[in-house]
Every structure is written in C-alpha cells, then in structure tokens.
C-alpha cells in the first residue's frame, strides 16, 4: 500500500499545477499513461511482497483455524484435526485446554497455561530494557557527538556489542552469570543468577541493555548531528543554561529520531527470543511469547500459528499506538538516518 501512495504524491509534486483549475487534455492523458507505467513498474515488487509477506501471513491465519492432528487411540497414529474455528485462539487467550475430562483450564506444565505470564514477561522485559537503553543510549550519543581526540575510536568501541551475534552474546552472558562465573567471582557474591525469577530477569535485562544500547546510541547520534550548532550558539548568547539548552533545544529537535529509535527497539524487544532461550531456556519467569511460539511449533503447528497471529496483533497494536499517538514516523526518519549512516 505504501508503494502506491508514494509515487502518487511525487507525481503530484512534479506536474506543475496539476490541480483541477488547470485541466488540459494532453496533460491529463500524460498523467494517465504515466500512471499505467508506474503501475507496471510496481507490479514486480508487489508480487515479491505478496510471496514473501502476504502469502505466509494468510497461510498462518488459515492454519490457525485448523485443529492440530490428534491421536487415534485405537491405532496409535495421528489423524487430521479438521476445522477448529476459533478454538486455537480461545485456547491461548482463555488458557483452556482439552483434557480427558473435557475443556478445562490448562494445568501447570502445559504451554497453554503460560500465555498470559509470557505476555506479561515480554512486556516487562520490553519496558525495562527500552527505558534503560534510551537513557543510557542518549547519554552515550551526547558523548559521542562531542569533538575530542579518539572520538572515532570510541564510536567503534561502542559498536562492538552490537556487532556480536545475539546468540554469541547470550552464551557469553550465560557463562558470566553461571554460579562459578565472573559475575559472582568479581563481586564476591553467590547469587544463583539463573535460579530464580528476579535475578534471571535482571540477567537478561543486563545482557540485552549491554547488547542493544549501541544501536539506540547510534540512532540518537544521527538525530543529534542534524541539529545545527548555530541554534546552540544563539541559545548561549541568550543566556540559556546547559539544562535549558538540553530540554528546550536538544530534546524537541531530536525527538523524531528518538521516537523512531524507541519504536524500532520496542518492536524488536517484543519478539525477544535468543537471550532468554539460551541464558535460561525460559525458566524462572523468562518465557517470552516468541519462546512460547517456538516450543509450540514442536508440539503442534496449528496452535502455534494461532499464537504467532496473536503475537502479531499485539506487536501491531503497539506499533500503531506509537505511530498514531506518539508521533513516531518510521518511514520519514528511517530514510533520514539511513542517509546519515
């Protein structure tokens, strides 16, 4: 859809006075043929988008309306589940399971009983990590935007955690937070980092903040560099304090870039998988929605399809709130930051 909207506006810009008050026949025909050409040019990308995005999503939704294959008790082999309607969705949202005694709330130890706790965990981890990453990332960006000796070395160093694959990071922190690991040795503690809820979540938050703050810092840095120096000079002449310059100039001017950075990080954090999967395997209240989906895939595809559709809706709603109410504009600023990079 975005593809169609863009060429239209651009064409409107180019055709001088293409408004209703200046309606020449030739111009009109030109517009029409141009529109056809544009449509032709767009078709390949629409097809690719259709294959890569629309088809899997539609397929996932269709799958989510089918029952998982069940076992025929007589033969011991699987038989197709058939049409399920919204059963799979009800299963997750109301945490209802099929049991030998009929429908009942899912017993502890089934994946079905973990939906809401996983949703809560996902949001908790998202809010805390994104908040920490924003504050620390901002601070790092401000330092990096100053001119001083060794600035490029600092910028390169800051990027290192971001450059390491997440799975490697996770394994690294897994060892650091082991009972005999560096964390406990360094601080002379004997905390079981992966043995109970609060430490396990903290460990994941620490690892995630360490890993993705540089990404945040870079996006914010790009925004900071768009602010002209003259604005600061003028403010200084007017006698604004450093704090006033920060709140009155830096914050409002960097806001578009900041909002996009937060949007990206939030969407990313909502599908967090590798860190908790490797560090705690989802134990001790660290099962996120993505972990739940992957575990469910091994048990039944159709139910997993329903769960990933629900996850998609959750992420979509969050993204919608960001764009609609908080003014994050991914397309506009993404192209800007792309240029700066």
């Amino acid at each position: 859809m975005s593809m169609q909207a863009e060429p239209l506006t651009r064409r409107g810009k180019k055709g001088t006075g293409a408004g209703p008050e200046n309606k020449e026949v030739g111009q009109d025909r030109k517009q029409k043929t141009q529109g056809r050409a544009a449509a032709l040019l767009i078709i390949p990308s629409m097809i690719v988008l259709g294959i890569v995005i629309v088809y899997p999503v539609v397929d996932a939704i269709v799958m989510s309306l089918q029952k998982d294959a069940g076992l025929d008790p007589a033969t011991g082999s699987f038989v197709a589940g058939g049409f399920a309607g919204l059963y799979n969705y009800i299963h997750w949202i109301l945490q209802q399971c099929n049991t030998p005694g009929g429908q009942a709330s899912c017993p502890a130890g089934t994946l079905g009983s973990q939906f809401w706790s996983a949703t809560g965990t996902t949001f908790l981890l998202t809010v805390i990590t994104v908040a920490l990453e924003t504050v620390i990332g901002f601070w790092m960006a401000i330092i990096m935007s100053r001119t001083f000796r060794g600035r490029s070395a600092l910028r390169a160093a800051v990027l290192v955690p971001w450059a390491i694959p997440t799975a490697v990071t996770a394994k690294l922190w897994f060892f650091i937070f082991a009972f005999d690991g560096i964390a406990n040795t360094l601080f002379h503690t004997s905390i079981l980092w992966t043995g109970s809820e609060v430490p396990a979540r903290s460990a994941i938050i620490i690892a995630d903040v360490w890993k993705t703050t540089p990404f945040m810092a870079l996006l914010i840095l790009a925004g900071l560099q768009m602010i002209p120096d003259q604005v600061y000079e003028a403010a200084k002449v007017d006698g604004a304090t450093a704090w006033q310059r920060f709140t009155q100039i830096t914050l409002p001017l960097v806001k578009p870039a900041l909002m996009v950075a937060i949007l990206f990080r939030t969407l990313d954090a909502l599908r967090m998988y590798d860190l908790p999967a490797i560090m705690t395997a989802g134990a001790n209240g660290t099962t996120t929605l993505s972990i739940l989906v992957v575990n469910q895939i091994r048990i039944g595809f159709n139910s997993a399809a329903a769960l990933s559709t629900i996850t998609f809706l959750i992420i979509f709603i969050v993204a919608f709130i960001f764009v609609r109410f908080l003014g994050a504009n991914a397309v506009e600023s993404a192209t800007n930051s792309g240029k700066v990079k």
Binding site: T9, A60, M63, Q66, T75, G109, T309, F316, V323
Partner: protein, 432 residues
Amino acid sequence: MRHSRKFASLAAVSVLAMTLAACGGGGSGGGSTSGGLSGDAGANLDGRGPITYVQGKDNSNVVRPLVDKWNADPAHKNEQVTFKEQSDKADQQHDDLVQNFQAKNTGYDVVDVDVVWTAEFAAKGWLQPLKDKLAFDTTGFLPATVATATYKGTLYAAPQTSDGGILYYRKDLVPTPPKTWDEMMGMCPIAKKNNIDCYAGQFAQYEGLTVNAAEAINTAGGVIVDKNGKPAVNTPEAKAGLTNLVQAFKDGNIPKQAITYQEEQGRQSFEAGKLLFLRNWPYVYNLAKTDGSSVVKDKFGIAPLPGKTGPGASSLGGHNIAMSVYSKHKATAMDFMKFMTNEETEKFYATQGSLAPVRADLYADKDLVKQLPYLPVLLTSIQNAVPRPVSPFYPAVTQAVQINAYAALKGDKTVDQALTDMQAALAAAGSQ
C-alpha cells in the same frame, strides 16, 4: 499529502510487524496420515537402488568411512549410498526431518532419529514398520534400546547407538561406591568434612531435568507413562522418587547452585574437585582423565547409578536408525540398516566415536573395554535403564515433566502438588 505520508508510515510499520509474526509461523500444514501397511508403507518393499542416509553432523567422522565401505563393495554397485549431513543442533535435525517427511520426500530413505523422536515419527506414519517382509532381527540387542524403537508393539527403527547415566565418585574419599540412594546420602557427611558438595546431576529446567527426574521416579519404582501410554505419575512410588531429590536439595546434599546445572557445570565442578558424586553421561570419563584443569584425574571412579536396593534406573540416550515410508528402495534401505547396526559397525562406533554399542556382547570385548574402561559400568546402567516416556507427544511430555519437577525442586510447589499438576499436564498433552 501529510495524511498520505502518515498512512504510508503506518503501512510500513504493519508490514514490519507482519514480517516479525510471519517468522514465527514456520512449517506447513499439520501432518496427518493413517498407519497400517497400506499406502506408502506397503509400497516399494522390494525396491533396490541408490539411497540417501540422513544424519546430524558427523562430528567424529564415523559415518563417512562406513558409507565409503558400503559403496566400495562391488555388490552395491547399483545401490550406492549418499550421505546427507544435517546441522549439529538436535532441534534443527528434528525440524528438518519433519519438513521432509511432510513433503513426502523420497530422497530421505534412511534416517537417524533420536530415541525420543521415534514414537512421534512412527505415530505420524512416517517410519516404515519393521515387520513381515522388512522384519529386523533384534537378537543380541540390549532390550532397553529395542524398547525405544518400539511403538504400540511394533518395531519402527533399529537401535543404533545408546547412552546411559553413570555415577562418578571420588574414590580417594569414598573407597566403595554407594549401591543405593540412601547409602549415597549417608556418605554426604564425608563431603561436608572435606568442605565440598555431595551430589549433583542436571537440574536446570531443560531436557536434562526430564532425564534426571525420570531416573529418580523410575528408580523408586514409579513410571511417568505406563505401558499403554497413559500418564501414571501420581503414584506413591513416583512421589518417593521425586521426594528423594527434593529432600536432598533441602538437606544441602545437593548444593543449591545445582538448580542451575546442566551437564557441563556439573562436570566442571567435579573436575575442580568440588563435588563428591556426579550423575553424568560417559563422555565425562575421558575429559576428567585428560583435561588440563582436572584435579581428579586419578582420584575418581565410576559406578552404576545408585538405586533403591540395587542399580538405579538410568534414562536412555542414543539414536535409532529408521526407514522412511516414502523410500523407493526399501530392500536396499533394509540392507543398509543391517549394515549400520552389525557387530563390526557397532564396534567402529565405539572405537571411532566413543558411541556406546547397542549389542550386549560388545561390552565384554577386551579391546573395547581397554579403550573405553567405562563400558562394563555402562552395560549395567543400560541393562537397568528405562527409556524416557515413549510418547508421540514427547515435546509436550518433557515440558510437563520439566516445569513441574523444577517447581518442586525449588520448593515452589509441594511434591504432591507437582505430581498432580504433572499428571494433569501429561493428560492434557495426550488429548490435544
């Protein structure tokens, strides 16, 4: 224009979110087939021709020499075997097999399956039942390994390699190893006197915990899933088994950090001399003997797992070799399966890859025992072993066991509550 741009950005966001969600979808439609020797399972029984053998990453170079040996035989001129190597991650191997079976890929003739997947694949109708024309003779195989390959009374695969838990102990501190669990717990004051931990296994919430919890329950005479595939974990025997572990945690006989232990952490603690008893797999033996960081090189011994009165009931690891129902050359596949499990090949597994044989008489082979001194102990372990629950819903079963056993070990739930929940979760797993 302002409006359209906003709309465009929204569309972009939704596309982004859709991609994220689509990533989770994975796989294609649910697999559903009916069993019986009709259909694919009844076709191509006499087919001969080239076949493909599928197995996970061949880390110790075991498969290639065997395939070369097979292919070099002039009798197999028209029945050449191609080796298709999968990744080294068990989960990915599983998913790769599922995808190819669903696609009815005729190119996956003979496949290597983990013991815990066998029931699932058999129930899905993907594995050729080994009966009638394609019967497979299991004489001489260890019965527990054959049980892992059997589903609903029919053999669906041939045992290929095995694995069992053994007890590592410090022979400098404990001259004779404990035969029973109570005896071992009685020795824990020795650990205390020496200021080290007493016992550890694998108690973090992952597959290893299923293995350890199943061992505790089976050793005490309980079962997780009974002969008919029905969950039966809510019994006094199972309670006694799980209570043993919970009590040991409470008493400090199992150190509290063991709740985070997988195989490696336990091994490291044992090699650092900080642990009196360790339940682990045979792979630890050579590492503890040779690792530079091991301080117990000559100070440890091995014994069968301690049980109630005699040896404990180990869980079984290892792999089975099976034939796809979609194979076009099943007669060749059968010959190859026999070749891959014959005495000579089994010996090669042991010498080349340190993989435990599935044939009982090899455990008495002098050369082998010389090279792998743990074999006699491992034989006792495997002879007393109980397969992990043979269930087509194994992924759900292991979740049910892990989560509830973990809660009990941590003291979040009483043993009774944990077993009640485990029973309910197992029942729900079987009636999706």
